[in-house]
Symmetry: C2
Subunit: 131 residues, 2 copies
């Protein structure tokens, strides 16, 4: 996935949350300049806060996370007081929201997500915004 495509998906989700009228959203500034953990988006509705990593995938791909990406998301979420989520957008299938404990783990201990995992374990946007 290109960086550009990931950013486009992230912006789409940013607006989806704002458009509900009940959720406020912050897009995190590029975390490249610092080793500190940062989710792509942080969203809150006065009751819940989600720290979200966004991924855009083709339908048949598995997306592997960078080393420590999921651990850092978990660390951030624990300190902040947020629930960590992966938001995966599939071409022609839309968005799925997967709890980090439900991600796949490869033999090399790398986390990944694919359409099968998303469909079996994920929640859709309507579920997420009602939680």
């Amino acid at each position: 996935m290109s960086k550009k495509k990931g950013t486009k998906a992230e912006r789409e989700l940013f607006h989806m949350f704002w458009d509900t009228g009940n959720w406020a959203v912050v897009r995190a500034a590029g975390s490249g300049s610092t080793p500190l953990p940062a989710p792509d988006l942080i969203v809150g509705n006065g009751k819940k806060v989600y720290a979200i990593e966004c991924k855009s995938l083709k339908k048949d791909n598995s997306k592997y996370f960078k080393e420590n990406e999921i651990e850092l998301l978990g660390e951030f979420s624990k300190i902040f007081g947020a629930e960590p989520l992966v938001a995966a957008r599939f071409n022609n299938k839309g968005w799925f929201f997967i709890k980090t404990k439900d991600l796949g783990v490869s033999k090399k201990k790398t986390y990944f997500v694919n359409l099968k995992i998303a469909q079996e374990k994920g929640l859709n946007f309507e579920n997420i915004i009602k939680l």
Copy 2:
């Protein structure tokens, strides 16, 4: 205040919160591309969330906020479930944290902050991180 100086102050505060070990911080991506409200920083410790606008001032200045800046911070905070704060950094005096209700309001209904307000109404960093 230059944009560059504001960003430098914002980065300083970003690291101050992380360095406590108890607070996680997100710097918001430039909100210039969207009319939606975005604080400079959002910080949480599992109990409290602050949405923060950062300002860097010379000792004798008053800093006036842009039209709607404080209203948008309040709107964001209400939806997200955060407490809105202005963090003002004065040369040689350090940081003060001022609740938006304690800001000055000019005859033209513009919000402002200066050293007098900060010293009379503001909290220091040690107060804030213990709340």
